[in-house]
Symmetry: D3
Subunit: 262 residues, 6 copies
């Protein structure tokens, strides 16, 4: 199974490390590829206007994934363009962090909290949690209010995650935690050990969910519906109008294919 993980920002500096991490946690047969967007795209997606500038790229990527992937991951906790991307992914699965992490959390505990970067993020993320149906299970969504410079210091970030995470558990009653940002990978192990509750990573949750749904798609034919609201646009119309024609200028990390281990 081949999974493409899109880090939907205009920089490829994280691609290699992300691919590394995904390769560490994937199943033996899975092959992984991390891609990012052209360098004239926003470097982060904190603002909704920035999301708007990349959702076209995301959909173009999803359309490309229909040709050569089993699953495609949109690597932003806003789940940018999830509905749009699914529409054109053909038989390929499309996943995104918030939806996947919520689904997993519901099977591990009664309640969960989300650690987000800034309060800015909360309205849209809370709306997504609500749309996915998990409003009643969300104990809280707490901002870490980390400044730009703090993020360069892993210890500062970890300490903040730890203290905010502890507040979510002890004060808000969370039984599971999730990190509301794909940039925060690498902290889950330590946090989950320190806090004694599962801590879901925003990059690994949708990746593993993609691997799972890719597997059921292959073995059971449970591919995305193409009925009613999930109907894809007609290829003839896309061709007539010349949509999705321009070459995608993305930087692509080399696919890392591991030989099945075990």
């Amino acid at each position: 199974m081949h999974i493409r993980y899109l880090n939907p920002v205009g920089t490829d500096v994280y691609d290699a490390e992300m691919a590394d991490t995904l390769n560490r946690y994937k199943q033996p047969e899975t092959t992984v590829e991390v891609v990012s967007l052209a360098s004239d795209r926003p470097k982060h997606l904190e603002y909704h206007a920035y999301e708007a500038l990349v959702v076209g790229d995301i959909v173009a990527q999803a359309r490309a994934a229909a040709r050569d992937c089993d699953a495609f991951v949109i690597g932003c906790f806003y789940d940018v363009g999830l509905r749009d991307a699914r529409e054109v992914s053909g038989r390929a699965i499309v996943t995104a962090p918030c939806e996947s992490a919520c689904a997993i959390a519901r099977s591990l505990g009664n309640t969960f909290s989300v650690l987000v970067g800034r309060r800015k993020w909360i309205p849209k993320m809370a709306e997504n949690v609500c749309l996915y149906g998990h409003e009643h299970a969300m104990a809280s969504m707490r901002p870490m209010e980390l400044g730009v410079h703090d993020f360069q210091n892993d210890d500062v970030v970890y300490e903040r995650m730890l203290s905010v995470g502890r507040a979510c558990v002890e004060e808000d009653g969370a039984e599971v935690l999730m990190l509301g940002c794909t940039a925060s990978f690498g902290f889950c192990d330590r946090l989950q050990e320190a806090l004694g509750v599962p801590v879901l990573d925003a990059m690994l949750a949708p990746f593993k969910y993609a691997e799972f749904l890719g597997d059921t798609a292959l073995r059971l034919g449970w591919t995305p519906s193409r009925k009613w609201g999930s109907e894809a646009p007609p290829e003839s119309e896309i061709a007539d109008w010349g949509l999705f024609a321009e070459a995608s200028a993305r930087e692509t990390a080399k696919p890392e294919t591991l030989v099945p281990a075990e």
Copy 2:
């Protein structure tokens, strides 16, 4: 007050007629402009992948509106990019059809129904109605299932609207109707007379709502919040990354400014 109405599709064939209609129903002091997108954009937005291709344009337009408009209307009943556009509209109001029509409908009756073109549209539109908080007031959302050729025949369209609208009222208990497509302007008068209930037009509802909120912005200072989730991206970052730099290739209808008539 100056209002720009964006028909977010890659054709300007409707611009003049739309401007005409808006001018007919506006207040004396209001000036109106209708704009559409570059011709390489999708000609309609029935598919979510098409929305994804224009949401960047919509946000760019909203950003432009911040400089020279009091209010900006996103002319698609999917309310494409409403949150994103509002983020960068400065002091300009941003409205969209579904949100506006729902607000109006709630003040005119207990329940409303939405006439949509095809079933395809329902999941996203119903989700929007739900997000805006009007799920309990929505009696039904009924597709008219009109084929491409039917739309070229106004009488066929009207008859279908009439019969589906009657079903909404008589069978589903709707007290107010709304048309879930901006392309259907021009039918409301006849429908409302024939059916005996208010029929809200998808182009005029957000336009008049924009005029209203533009007025309260000017007189009372009730402009869009810029706090928390509504915080705009920093101009310096936008400049550094060169975002929104490319000249917008849109076709623009001439603004029609009427002298206050009365």
Copy 3:
């Protein structure tokens, strides 16, 4: 367009000042009238039993408005008798503070908070916000717990509004504020400047909403539905039973008609 604003209490001491304020913010063509109830009616409506004593008057006024007004405003944040009044308002629009302010707030930000006088008010007001569909957007409803004598001192009231409003924004995450009492007009400008978020006034919100809906009623025929739950009682029955017959003993402020300015 002519709008009648009802201050539904048994005193006319506020009528002139209210009319003054409304005239300051209305559109040029609008004419405004402020009315209040007979002096044997309660002087405020903090208690629901007091509401019960005036809802008959409110409906009688709405019925009268059907004859000579384009819109009628019920000036109490409990939105007393809104459904009842709409039933008999003929083609005249009926608005009320909570419904109008919520609708406006939703277009200006993701979340809002309501500053109420006392905790007493919260259950019914929160229920209304919920009925109108805005429960998820309400960040909080905070009481100011102002004593009777505090209200005589504008500075004390302002300081309390400021500190409670700040708590709503900073602690509860509100992006927009609204004042949950029509008696608090005159503070919005200062509050909105001090707090940096829109602050909606409980008297002006329904007044401007009435002006807006009055305009769409006149230009587009979007008058109140008279179908199903909005069906009015038959005039013959009202006549047979002699309902609404007694002369309304209300004190009426002189209508202030401004010549369109601009």
Copy 4:
């Protein structure tokens, strides 16, 4: 225990028969009184404007009940003025048909349907069911659409109830039925035998609920809360303003006190 049942309409023609029915189903120690309103009041409450004309009377009655009753019943399925009446009932319980019937229905089955007279009634009644928290348990609310003359013919009414009730059970999945009109007493026995599900009467449900809550008030001190939203208006203010002063012109049925039977 003494219970006063208010038939809140301007006619006493039903009082005796209602008292009769209540006496038939009450507990031995309970004494019952049926009262109605002055003859210049509406003869039925189908329209919300009519409700508005009697809610002041209802509250005045609730206030009177505080002095000499253990429980007070508002006999209209719109539950007119329930919150308002409870505020001034002192230690007396106040009940109303919709709230009581819903509570009972939830303990007898998973779902219920409500048989209402006309579609007119549905928006407000459905809103009440929703406010009381039973929206998910309501299988349907079906109008019987009985004309004025049909109601004079018991057999016609029964046949309609039977056929609409059967549709609720067989098509909508109702496990319990309730009659959404207090005028329909006397049909439950036959309906429940014919349909094989419990059929709750709109007059007896709140009466028996009042008897129950009156009992727990007496034995356990579970009287209405007077805290926060349930705080009563100060007697001094009521006296100062001369509220509730006029003699209530209601016609009162003779209280029928039965000696405890069994």
Copy 5:
């Protein structure tokens, strides 16, 4: 009317005192019986796995109650097996603490809070409150976090109830309180006097509700529905499979029948 109250734990040490309490608050004609489970059953039900071990017993008891009781009470605030027990109770009413207390609370005030023993209990109890439809009316659910030894000291328990209850009222806005544990009977009187709001007892609420519904079942035929989801299993199948065959090894308190006192 005969009511059987099941304390669904493997000890009968509380039976006599419970019967005593129930007899003190019952109506004259009611007879009461308290039963508990075989001594190899869990001694408390704090853990859901313990509930699982007794739900079969509860259903067996409900089935037995169908033969010789008018009503059957499941004495655990988790409302363990309520749906299951109702299915086989024949014409006998089945009640449980959380459902009953919520129903009563809704008629006494706008909001209520629940005092629970430990945070452990909250997810399931909150889910039940939500399922019964009272989520919006619940001001809070607060744990008392009492240790094992504290419970042996009534004064300590009372002080904790008092302080947590006060926080519910003063901080969370509760107008009514309920105790979320049947083991806490005997504190309501003092609490309700000290706090000035109704305090519902977890043992008496479902008992009195059972008495009420038992009365309406007898007088009005409002017995549990047996339609759709409430359909009971066929006796023939139960017999064929030998279900419910083993003699119930429960310890049974002597029924205490009081002569109607008045």
Copy 6:
């Protein structure tokens, strides 16, 4: 990874075929075991009273799975005892059909419908869908109303599934279907081909979900939370009271371990 699938009924006649099916769709490294309950247990769980008789067994099995399994599946679409079983499963994952199928369906389409056997099942199953948060995504739950003898004829069952499934898609707007009964495995392939939408099997959905969550538990440490509501009962207490002591009399299918294929 080792997964135990419990068919929670008192017969082992389906065990071998079920194991066969699971082995066909599992991943190479997974080993599978199917177990059922002692023969004195109910042969099906259509009635809630029957569920009550096996939930203790289910929890005992979950507790056993904590010792020797990575994941444990409760094979009944009522998701019997899911919360209870999770409490004592240690580090083993516990899944159940309805929860798993809903999660999968949400990633494949906007809406889903559930085909259930009889209307009897709907209230509890619909409540579960609601509790899991997917109420808004559920297009319908339709009973197939198949008689006992029909089930012996696969063609009859298939035809009924096809026609009811088609109604769900065409009339109710479902984009995904799920079979609400574990006994219906083996039909998905044909149905999904005939209907053109994904059809989720009630046995395979929770099995594959268990395999997925078992994998993330092993690789990422995302095991069930043991905090707050998920806290397990203390082993010392279980030992003191002798709970779960009796040897489980279940019939166990031989575990079928396949050598990793590919």
